[in-house]
Structures are given as C-alpha cells and as structure tokens.
Symmetry: C2
Subunit: 515 residues, 2 copies
C-alpha cells in the first residue's frame, strides 16, 4: 500500500545519463581503482561527488567501483574522465569510450563486516559474501583493514577458521589431479635463505610421488621460491602447461601467480602485510585454502621458531599447529607440522640467484654445499613422505637421503626444469664487497630481519643476482678484519647503500668477546 507519484515531466532527468569519455591517467595506484574527474565538472556537481567518494563507473556493459580523486590542475579537462592503471585494467574500455558515473551502492557484505566488528561469529556463507565483495573491489581498503582487524588476535575461533578457509577455496579456481595422494609442503616464512622447496620437490618426485608445487614471488622477503626458480628456468606456466609438466615428471616448481588459487587471499594479504597483525586465523585459512585449491591431499608445514623469525615462541607455534590440524581435518587435508630452528639463516646465500647456487650445490652433492640446508631439506622431505600411509617414522628420511645421494633428485630437478622450458645456471652479480668485522670475538646473535633488509637494499629480489652471502653461525669465532658477510649487487650505488645500512646496524651480527 505504499505508493507515490512519479516525477513525470519534460525535464525528467538522471545524472547517470551524463557520460564522459575515458582515458588512462597513467597512474599506478596498485590494486585500488581510482577515478579522476576535474574539480567542479558537471558529473561532480550533479552527483555531489567529492574526493574519496566511491563511484560506480559503467562502460560497455561492465562496471567497476573506483575511489574518486578530484583533479585541480589542468592535465584533465572538465569534459573527460581518467582511470588509474588498476581501474583501466578492470573496466577494459576502448580509449575515448563514454562512461556513466553514479554513487556506488553499499557493498552487500557491509552488514557482515559490521557484525564481525561487533563480535558476532561468522559462518561460511557470510565469509563468502565478504570475499565476493573483496574479489570485485566493492570493499575499499579501509573496509578491508576493518575486516582484517576484526578477525585479528583471538577474534576468530576454530570453526570460523574452517568457514573462512572454505569460503576462500569457494571463490577461486581449484586444480584436480584425480585419485591418489598429492603431496605438498609449506614454510611459515621468516627465515632468510631457507630454500628447501626445490630440493624437497625433486626428492619426493624422484620417488614417484605427485608434488605439483606452486610458490609465490617474494612479498616482503629478499626472495620467494618462485624468484629463486626463475633464475634457473621458466616459472610462469599456464595451467595447461603445468598439468603437462606434472603428468610427465610428477612434480613442478612453478609460480602460483597465474593460477588464481584462493585469489581473495592474495588481496587480503596486501592489506595484512602493512598492518602486520600476524593473525593465526587468517594465516591458517590463507595457507590451507591455497593447498586445497592446488589439489593437495597431504601437506607438511614447516614452522621455524626463533626470536627474529615470524613465529617467535614455542607457545605461538603450538597455537598455530593446533589450528592447522583442526582446519586441515575439516577441509579434508592430511596436515603434518614440524618445528625447526628459526634463530638464524639457512644456507649461505640470501637473494634469488645466491639461494639457487646453494640449492644446486646440495642437489649436485658438491662437498662445500651448505650442510644445514641439506639436512633441513632431508628432514622436511622425510616428514612429507611419512605423511603417506605405510611409511614408518624415520623411513621417509632414509628414502630421501638415498635419492639425494644417488643423484636421482638432481636428475629429477633437471627434468622438471627441462619440462618447464629448459635449465640455465643462475647468474652472478657485477659488484661484490665484504663487510669486515671491526672486533674479534664470538657471534652471539644473528638478526634475520636486518639481514633480509641488507639483501633487499642490495637489490634483491628485483635484481636476481643481488643479495648477500653469510657463512657465519651463532658460536662461530671471528677475528677483526674477517668478512662478516659479502654483499652482491648490480650497481655500485646499491652495493654501498646496503653496506652503509649494515654498518649502521652492528647488531645484524652481534660479536661478543675481546676487542
């Protein structure tokens, strides 16, 4: 019984009918789509738009939601509109195509977000509503930050972790490898040089198991496994190619970038990273959703524990391990967890090519290969194998050691690289210089985070050969003038900059003892 009169008449009119031609602004605003309109233009006045208004832009049957930046200079005219790179990519208009502009509707999941902030527990459909809006950029970065915060700390119980994991799987693609075990491993990050994955995958695949490994590029670290592998072979495989590689060799060492496995997680991570809240609930959903989407059935999670690692205490490791086991069982994954020493780096090199050299040395059985990297890789490969039914405790490690020693693992690694497009030796940097010890004594402590920062300042992972080499470990003795670490860089500027930072932070490698 609710009815009112239409606003009929000759001047019936909607500002949505005002259309402006689109052009590229030539501005990279990362993943946030931005719309640029001239101050005081007809659209701004008709709609009451101001800077940061969320605007629905429609063009050629597609629509996006963009944040408005108001142009006060004259690089944009009053009768045109410009889009940031992210917005242009998402809307994909023809240059000069006419677009319509309107206030964006509040996202469907605004109520869900609000409920979580006010302490309600969310189920899978409500998490899925949030993630759908995440995927279509209907939630602003501010709203994503609110969601991440509302789920941080102890505000997500185990059932919610399961629901979030399932919702993350739901919104992405999913690989299916048919019946039988599909093995995988994952490290809860934070330890420079800890590049066991290529070795573990080669060992496990050499033993005839399926291990279709996709890895990420570095986000905040000096190298991700995909960066390291990219110094030796092609890692950017389309799903079809990846499937061929795995069918032929049992395993692959590819980048997960093109796979769209748990893509909502990729977006949330971009918000979680600057906030750095280390939420167990989200970390577990992030890890396990990607594993399920990748078609894995058995996953070994390596958790390095150490004061400058990501997980700092055994209690924190236990809490994550419990959550991993609970959620893993709920989503049908066999999850094994292994704690490892997270107090100092692993191997010698830190940076894509330098870590690749370490990996190759281990696979090739070269005498000077870093023993800590080899032992860790064998431990992890053994633990992966022991997830399988019928493999006894200890038997997995023995199998792993045998295929590494026999050269079968090296052979498998080369075969995988060849299947992915061919193997090449990783490069070396143009400029190399050591940082020398200013005093004599014993290495008391190594700061993983600062060591990673030196490698990044030297140019890693952008410059594949950049980074550093550090062979010292806690308890090693050094004499004044001994090299503490060696910086590798592709430009003298970056070399000096990294060394300057290292010099300004003497607790990267703390020397205790006589002068």
């Amino acid at each position: 019984m609710n009815e009112t009169n239409p606003a009929a008449g000759p001047d019936r009119y909607s500002p949505e009918h005002i259309r402006l031609p689109l052009r590229r602004a030539g501005i990279d605003t990362y993943r946030q789509p931005v719309l640029y309109l001239r101050e005081g233009c007809l659209v701004c006045r008709a709609e009451g738009f101001a800077a940061l208004t969320r605007v629905k832009v429609t063009c050629g049957g597609r629509e996006i939601v963009a944040i408005l930046n108001v142009v006060t200079g004259d690089w944009l005219g009053p009768c045109e509109a410009a889009l940031s790179d992210a917005a242009w990519q998402a809307l994909a208009p023809q240059p000069g195509a006419l677009a319509g502009f309107a206030h964006a509707d509040p996202p469907e999941s605004a109520g869900v977000l609000r409920a979580k902030v006010f302490g309600e527990r969310l189920d899978e459909p409500r998490f899925a509503a949030v993630l759908r809006d995440v995927m279509t950029a209907r939630l602003s970065d501010i709203e994503l930050a609110a969601f991440v915060t509302a789920c941080a700390g102890d505000r997500m119980d185990l059932d919610e972790s399961v629901a979030l994991t399932r919702a993350m799987i739901e919104v992405g693609e999913r690989l299916d490898w048919g019946p039988g075990p599909v093995l995988d491993k994952h490290c809860v990050g934070g330890l420079p040089g800890n590049r066991t994955t290529p070795i573990v995958v080669s060992i496990v695949a050499a033993l005839g198991h399926r291990v279709p490994k996709t890895s990420s590029r570095a986000i905040t670290s000096p190298a991700g496994t995909a960066d390291v592998m990219a110094t030796m072979t092609n890692v950017d495989l389309e799903s079809d190619t990846l499937r061929v590689v795995v069918e032929r060799e049992g395993g692959c060492l590819a980048s997960g970038g093109r796979m769209r496995l748990s893509p909502a997680d990729d977006i949330l991570i971009q918000i979680e990273r600057p906030l750095d809240f280390d939420s167990d609930g989200q970390m577990v959903a992030s890890i396990l959703s990607k594993k399920v989407a990748a078609g894995s059935t058995h996953v070994l999670i390596d958790i390095p524990v150490g004061i400058t690692a990501k997980i700092r205490t055994p209690a924190a490791a236990d809490a994550i391990a419990r959550r991993l086991a609970f959620v893993g069982e709920a989503v049908g994954l066999r999850v094994g967890v292994r704690y490892s020493d997270g107090s100092q780096p692993v191997g010698r090199g830190i940076g894509p090519a330098l870590e690749a050299h370490d990996v190759l040395a281990v696979l090739r059985g070269i005498p000077y290969a870093p023993a800590d990297l080899r032992e860790r890789a064998l431990d992890i490969a053994g633990a992966v194998l022991e997830l399988l039914p019928g493999v006894a405790q200890g038997a997995g490690r023995a199998q792993a050691a045998a295929v590494l020693a026999s050269g079968a693992a090296l052979h498998k690694f080369m075969a995988i690289c060849n299947a992915q497009g061919g193997f090449r030796e990783p490069g070396v940097a143009r400029f190399v210089r050591p940082l020398l010890a200013a005093s004599s004594g014993t290495i008391a402590c190594i700061n993983n985070r600062q060591l990673a920062r030196v490698a990044k300042l030297a140019g890693a992972p952008r410059d594949a050969a950049a980074g550093l080499v550090c062979t010292l470990r806690e308890g090693d003795r050094v004499q004044r003038g001994d090299p503490l670490l060696v910086v590798h860089a592709e430009s003298p500027g970056e070399l000096a900059y990294a060394l300057e930072y290292a010099h300004a932070h003497p607790d990267i490698l703390t020397i205790a003892g006589e002068y």
Copy 2:
C-alpha cells in the same frame, strides 16, 4: 661490543642524496598526502619504492610522510616529483624546490595499535601517541581503519573512553573563558530538520549566560548548524573575532571548522564515517573532547531515539548516557542527558535555508511556526538552564518560554548575527515541485534516512536553498493527490533527480489504509 666496519670508499653513496624538484600534481586526494614519481625513475630504483610505499619527503627543513603513486604516463618526467594538494599544503615547498626521498620509519604508535588489536587496554599516553601520529599523517588510512575497528563495539571500556577523551583534548587547542559557567548543548544527530541550536543559544544568551557555540558543517546530513547559520550570517570566525562576539553578546553561532578543537577527532571521523561502526567509546570521546576544548563547563546532550535515527533503541541510548556521564565527570564537565523522540523529522524544512526559515519563524513567534521545533527548543533550553546550580526542575523551561515569548531571544539572535558580520534573510530555491500521494490513507511511518537522502539529491547542503519541506507526521491523513513533500532545488535536473529517487522509494512516507 657490537661493531662492524664502515663501508668506506670512493663510491660511498646514499640514495637520500638524490634530490628531485617538486611541483603540484593538481590532484585532490582529500587528506591523504600522495607523492607522484615516474615509473623506473632513479629514486624509485635506488630506494626500491613501489606504488603505495610510504615515503618520507624532506624539503627546506620540513618533512611529510606520503603514499607513493607511480606515474606510468608522460605527464610527469623521470627527473621531477609531484605532490597531491594535501601533500603540497603540508610540506609547503617553493615550486621547483629540491626534495629528498626515503622510506618512512614505521610510526611510533604502530606498537600501540598492535597492542589494542590484540586486546590490551590503552592508557592516556598510549592513546596520545596514536593521536600524535594521526595528526602528523604518519598513520595511513589503513592503520586508522584498524585503530577505529579495534576500538569499536564493546572493545573500549569506560576508563579507556576517559583516556582517549583526555588525549584528544591534549593534541588540540583549548579555549579559556575565565571563571564561571560556560553552557553548551549537543545533539547526537540523525534527525532531519532538528535545528534547535540557534534557538537554544539565543534563549540562553538572552538570559545572560555564556554559550560560545561552535558547530560543524554537514558531514553526511543535508545540513549542519553551521550550514544553516551561514544562510543568515557569517560563521567562519577567527578565534579573536569569536572571542569579541562572545564577550559582547554572551553567545555566538559560529563554525568550528577553523578552531582546531580536538583536531585528531576530525581526522578519525573521516575514517569512521564510511565504516559507520557507531562506536560508543569513540563517539563519547569525540563529543566531550570538543566540549572541553571549547571551554564548556555544563553540557546538555540531546539523544533522539528512533528506528531510523542514529540511536535506535532505549538500551543503546542508556549505554551512551552512562558513558557520557562517567567520562564527563572524569574530565570535569557537568553533563546532562535528555532523550527525545527520534521517530520522525522536526520542523518543516530540511536543508540549510529551509531550516533557517523554520528557526526564524519560531524566534519571531509567527503563528504558523512549527510547534514541534519550538517545543523541542524550549525543552532543551530548559534542560541546559537546569544544569546550573539553583535552577529547579521545570524552572529552566519557564525562563526559556518567557524570553522566547517576549522577543528577547529574537533580539539576542539578531545581535549575535550582527556581531558576526550582519544578518540577512535566507534565500529561496528557483525550482519547487511537490511529490503527490498516489493513494489515500494514514501516514504510518517516516524514514528519516531516506528523507535526508532526497534533500541531498536536491542539492543540500551545497546549494543552501535546496532541500525539501515536509509537514506531515505519523498519524496524519492524506488524500490521493495531496502533496507528501515539496522538493526545492536550484536546477531542474536535481529537482527531477530527487523526485525520481523519492518515487522509487515509496517507504519514505508509508501510507496505510484504503486506496
């Protein structure tokens, strides 16, 4: 005992020494300072900057922290840098001045933010650390959203509300009116047309009390008190002028925009608004910090309660009232709270000039003046007066009614306007058209939020004369063809757009009954 060798040598070098000339980008990014650098420029490469990196920009002894947008088009050269309007204002460089660029240090309060997210209670110094970083734009919008979320719902106890209120007062300026009571009133918003403030201030000042009222412009509503007063007099007073007005007339009706009272709150509100979390803790800190900063001693808070008002239930109103009383006492304010009917609009007009006409009608004692606005203003003025020692219950309202009836309140209002720069009659809109009832029956329900939206679509508050007039109230009978409301606009387009929206939302005024 920690020492390492300096990276001495001829190529010693720091990217902070690379300086680029600054120019204005001519882009309004609201309050977020944005730095624009060309993709692949020397600074980006040397520092490893990417889109959204937080960059410290230094120039002429000043520094700001800005978010980086990477320019991929050719409007910016590789050897120059551009700043958004907010960044340019904050850094205030000479055009072409050379600036340095470095990674911004993590904000001092990042740890505090993290602690709050993980459930710790914050004290005043820790809230103050956050607010200092808010003021200097060292916290990004993402971090502000995390802070707002971490304090939302029931996550801020009463002591924290006190600490946050004190910290907010601390970071801003504070007016001092000398000894004796300084009166004020505040409405917890959400009710269109509820423009009692000019009437209440005129009554209270006419009775010889001090009431230095500063009000805000509309944020999400069709009009704020400052918008309404701006249709009749000058409201943008510097503090010196404001002081002269108050000394002469006892009261003022100015905009708080230039006062820098609780300025951190002004920034937080910009984040809270799109999130719309209605956090009691932050709302109380926001209201009371501004009152203390304005030098008030006695404050009456009006809380309209209604299903489409900001506060929807009596229980929610009680919770806010308790918190207001507790925090008020802790910061030395005498706080009175009054609940009022929030189910439907007050007065007839919605929009700056239309509300001003209602205010003038009440002050002038015109017979057709809206009785509901007059009664509410008298109730509130009475309650303000009864906060004073020696004024009995009911006596305040009687005093208020007397000065309104005698014309003394009108006289005081005109005197205040004259002191602020002169009185003028509010304008009228060029285009006016009614929305007609499509059926006969009884008004069952009025939706405040949608009514406000119609007024905004008509152009309020940007166009001062725009908005709507609605004289109907719940229970009123209408015949098919009667006007339900009348839209006022300055352009035919906006007139039609507002009516079109109203037609599409028949539950703005729900008519129950026969056809």
